[in-house]
């Protein structure tokens, strides 16, 4: 099996599709609105790539930097120009066609990303295999993107890292609908400032979320209570620029946001509530606070979940108080907050 849609994947498929796709599959199966897509499995990589490069890498001395660079470049060129077997090329094209059908769009823009099959996520990222090709349209471009992802498995850094640490055991590729964000941002299911677990903190700005994640804009910020399910506070950010799809259809451009849009909140109250509800359900699903990236697609009007990671700062800081009885706590109150000796 060379192509599998996200909705058919779960965390047990890490060896087949890598951590990234398995995680997206898990979120999809749990009912969260991950942008739809499919994975090209590590089996496909094995079937197409390995036979061609094994010989080229034999006897490579990864300490010899010049030789390493040269070999890597050569291998990548080979991989990028490979003839993909008909069976696999058709499967990718078919996967892409079905994705378009699902979205109701012909030739939907997609992101093609590598999803390394590694012992753990740290290995995958250190191995330098984080290639991403955005705003690709059409089956031919998608297949070209897939080949470039495969080729990135042979970056000099990746080769050196694997020679030293081992770790990675192949390459899967994720093809995912490219959300055309009207508004995007991040969401913590705990207040990252106070550590209050009853709060959901949302930062949002116009366009793609890169401006928020990268700190290029002062976003609007919202604090929402999980408990009362009400917006506790909202602050209008400056939001000077937004990152949007380039008019020519390929890639993205930065542009200024006009005064009127800057001066108002970019999310409607109902959108904040929907986002918060989404955050709360993901937190429940994983049983711990989450750090999320999301976007609202302007074409489809839907909220999409782009990334979900466990929140680490407060989750580790939170210490459990000694298990005192209610009565001893009341006594402490009458002591003016001083513990009774």
């Amino acid at each position: 099996m060379h192509v599998v849609p996200f909705r058919a994947l779960d965390l047990e498929d890490v060896a087949l599709v890598g951590g990234k796709s398995a995680h997206l599959g898990d979120l999809t199966q749990a009912g969260f609105p991950v942008p739809p897509g499919f994975a090209i499995t590590a089996n496909a990589f094995d079937a197409v790539v390995e036979q061609h490069v094994d010989g080229l890498l034999a006897g490579l001395d990864t300490d010899d930097v010049a030789a390493l660079e040269q070999t890597a470049e050569h291998v990548r060129a080979v991989v990028e120009s490979l003839d993909v077997p008909e069976e696999i090329a058709t499967a990718v094209a078919e996967g892409y066609r079905r994705l378009g059908e699902e979205l109701g769009l012909s030739d939907p823009p997609v992101a093609v990303r590598s999803s390394a099959v590694a012992e753990d996520a740290a290995d995958a990222s250190f191995a330098g295999m984080q290639s991403t090709y955005l705003w690709l349209r059409g089956a031919d471009d998608v297949l070209a993107g897939v080949r470039r992802c495969w080729a990135s498995y042979f970056n000099a850094e990746a080769l050196a890292y694997r020679a030293q640490h081992g770790g990675a055991a192949g390459m899967s590729v994720a093809v995912q609908y490219m959300v055309d964000a009207r508004v995007a941002g991040v969401m913590f299911t705990i207040n990252p400032v106070t550590g209050d677990p009853s709060s959901i903190a949302i930062d949002a700005s116009y366009g793609l979320g890169v401006t928020v994640v990268g700190g290029d804009v002062t976003p609007d910020s919202y604090l929402f209570s999980k408990v009362t399910r009400e917006l506790v506070r909202s602050d209008v950010g400056a939001k000077e620029i937004e990152c949007v799809a380039a008019p020519d259809g390929g890639g993205t451009v930065l542009r200024e946001v006009d005064e009127e849009r800057r001066a108002r909140l970019c999310l409607e109250p109902g959108e904040v509530a929907r986002l918060a509800e989404l955050g709360r359900s993901i937190e429940r699903h994983y049983g711990r606070a989450q750090d999320l990236e999301w976007a609202i697609d302007q074409r489809l009007g839907e909220i999409f979940l782009l990334q979900a990671r466990p929140e680490t700062v407060w989750s580790q800081k939170r210490k459990v108080a000694a298990a005192e009885s209610a009565l001893s706590l009341v006594v402490a109150t009458f002591m003016g907050g001083k513990p009774a000796r």
Binding site: N191, S198, E230, V320, A321, T333, M335
Partner: protein
């Protein structure tokens, strides 16, 4: 004096109110010889309980309460860090301060008494609440039947000669003393359990603040509140009477602008109307002992004695029922929402803290009914009976020419009433005119004038030095006095009106500033109520208003609780809303952020 508020020794007497000090016992005035110490303390205006200048007699309500708080905090429970609350009068208004314990050794030794004693109370709460109720009921029964003797021309042969009783003058004095005693005893009972209930609340709030730093106090209070309390019952009876009026087809009698007498005269004219009056009589006892105030002033009469407020409320409810409104409070819904919020909070906590949360919330909900219902028995029923007995004493004095009206007795303080009764006894027995008949009339006229001048004066929220910390749980919880609030008061307030976000929502409307409980009839549908403090008996106006703003009050204050129940935005503890806002101003009340903005 240090940075902070004005010295209590530097407050000018308003013009025309000179000599106000004579109304009060010496021990309630700021003593010049103690100036250095007293002006270094922090005094805050207790406008929550005493929003009006105190008539001389009514100071007993403050004295009796503070005595009991001191007794329980200081001498019975020995709360380690705090003794009692001291009170003083400035220009007729009550200012209070906490006596805190700071010496570690004293705290430790008090702790050894405190722990077993409060342990006993919390462990035996239900039994002790039953005992408390029996004690209160017995005193209310005695006050109800207590006879205030008249002074006859000739003493009764049976009583004095055969039964060998004391003279009527002595028995009159004894009856007056008994009234005071019963009132003091009721006030002792008032604080027996209440302080422990507040301690439980505050502990829960502090726990929630640590676990959920962003959470508003209103959410925490909402988790505790029950909706079947005695204090809500009088208002429920009014709703029942409104429904009965419609059922009997006599709702037309409650036309707007009619006095209770006019309504009753109309109702007397038909069988259906008389049936309604019968229903009223059957529902009155004891719920019409609800006072139009909070039980601290003689002129805040019980509904039974001054039916203007209940009749106006019934009229309002009749109108709403005709419009098809549902009057019953959505108890099920409120309880479901309360429990949902509590469960959500609990689920966000780690395992060990979930157990603590459950225990503390359980304790708070367990003590909540008493913390609410005590008010009806003490401040309303018992206090209304007490003032009415004192009126009877006043009637005896008036009969003998001391005053024109029995009500004038309230312009004498408790000790002066003793003196007047001695005077009367001597004069009655000896056959001479009482000195009081010359002495009191001009003084009473002067005191009325002084009170009128003092009512026009706005007491500053605080006097003396700004304290570093406030330990006293009652002060924080009930009055909303915290370090932040003090800084705001000391700075003359931030721009605009800020207070506690006591009940969520944002509303714009026309303000109605109500300083006196007797003016609440002037409130129009949809107005924003701006008041110094609300009392539980104001509940009937809440269906009429669109938001509530008060000068004084914390998260568990009456305005906060009732506004949450009616789902109205409320900002409480603003310090000076009644001064900044005028009737007719358009205001925006933001119950989410605790701000009130004057729009034009």
């Amino acid at each position: 004096m240090s940075d902070g508020f004005r010295s209590p020794y530097e407050i000018e007497t308003p013009e025309g109110a000179e000599g106000w000090e004579e109304m009060y016992p010496y021990y309630l005035l700021f003593e010049p010889a103690r100036r250095a110490e007293e002006e270094q303390r922090f005094w805050f205006y207790n406008g929550m309980h005493f929003p009006e200048p105190m008539p001389a007699f009514d100071m007993i309500t403050a004295e009796s309460c503070y005595l009991s708080i001191g007794l329980y905090q200081g001498r019975v429970f020995q709360i380690p860090t705090v003794l009692g609350i001291e009170h003083r009068v400035v220009n007729g208004y009550v200012y209070i301060t906490s006596n805190e314990v700071t010496d570690p050794e004293t705290i430790q030794s008090r702790l050894e008494t405190f722990l077993p004693r409060i342990g006993f109370y919390y462990e035996n709460w239900d039994t002790l609440v039953d005992r408390w109720q029996a004690e209160v009921d017995a005193r209310i029964a005695e006050l109800t039947t207590l006879e205030i003797p008249r002074l006859p021309e000739v003493e009764d042969e049976q009583e004095l000669i055969h039964d060998h009783k004391l003279g009527s003058n002595y028995r009159l004095m004894a009856a007056y003393d008994r009234c005071l005693h019963l009132y003091n005893e009721l006030n002792q009972l008032h604080f027996e359990l209440l302080l422990l209930a507040y301690g439980a609340y505050l502990t829960f709030f502090q726990f929630c603040q640590a676990a959920f730093p962003d959470m508003g106090l209103q959410v925490m209070s909402q988790m505790i509140a029950g909706y079947e309390t005695t204090m809500m019952r009088p208002d429920d009876e009014l709703k029942g009477l409104a429904a009965k009026a419609l059922e009997l087809g006599v709702d037309g009698a409650f036309a707007a602008g009619r006095t209770p007498d006019e309504v009753l005269a109309d109702l007397q004219g038909s069988d259906a109307g008389r049936a309604w009056i019968e229903d009223l009589e059957s529902r009155k006892h004891p719920w019409f002992f609800m006072s139009t105030g909070d039980g601290f002033y003689h002129h805040h009469r019980a509904w039974a004695d001054d039916p203007r407020l209940p009749f106006a409320a019934i009229g309002g409810y009749v109108a709403r029922l005709r419009d098809g409104a549902e009057l019953a409070r959505p108890k099920e819904q409120l309880l479901a929402e309360r429990d949902r919020i509590a469960t959500e909070c609990r689920d966000l906590l780690p395992g060990d803290e979930q157990r603590q949360f459950d225990e503390m919330l359980g304790l708070c909900r367990h003590v909540f009914p008493h913390a609410e219902s005590h008010k009806f028995f003490i401040e309303h029923w018992g206090t209304s009976l007490f003032f009415n007995k004192v009126r009877e004493v006043g009637a005896v004095l008036a009969e003998h020419g001391f005053f024109e009206d029995a009500e004038d007795v309230f312009h004498l303080n408790i000790h002066e009433v003793h003196a007047a009764l001695s005077d009367l006894g001597l004069a009655w027995a000896g056959g001479a005119p009482a000195r009081g008949t010359f002495y009191w009339p001009p003084r009473i006229a002067r005191r009325k004038e002084i009170l009128a001048r003092l009512a026009e004066w706005t007491p500053p929220p605080a006097l003396g030095a700004v304290p570093d910390v406030i330990n006293d749980p009652t002060v924080q919880l009930l009055w909303g006095v915290t370090a932040d609030r003090l800084r705001a008061w000391a700075g003359g307030g931030e721009a605009g009106v800020h207070g506690y976000a006591a009940s969520p929502g944002v509303v714009e409307g026309v303000a109605r500033v109500v300083r006196d409980v007797n003016d609440i009839g002037s409130i129009q549908q949809g107005e924003v109520l701006v008041c110094s403090v609300t009392a539980p008996s104001w509940a009937p106006v809440f269906p009429k208003i669109s938001a509530a703003v008060s000068d004084i009050g914390g998260m568990m204050s009456h305005a906060a609780i009732i506004a949450r129940e009616y789902g109205l935005p409320a900002v409480v503890g603003t310090g000076h809303a009644t001064k900044e806002i005028k009737t007719g101003d358009r205001v925006r009340v933001d119950g989410d952020n605790g701000t009130v903005t004057i729009l034009d």
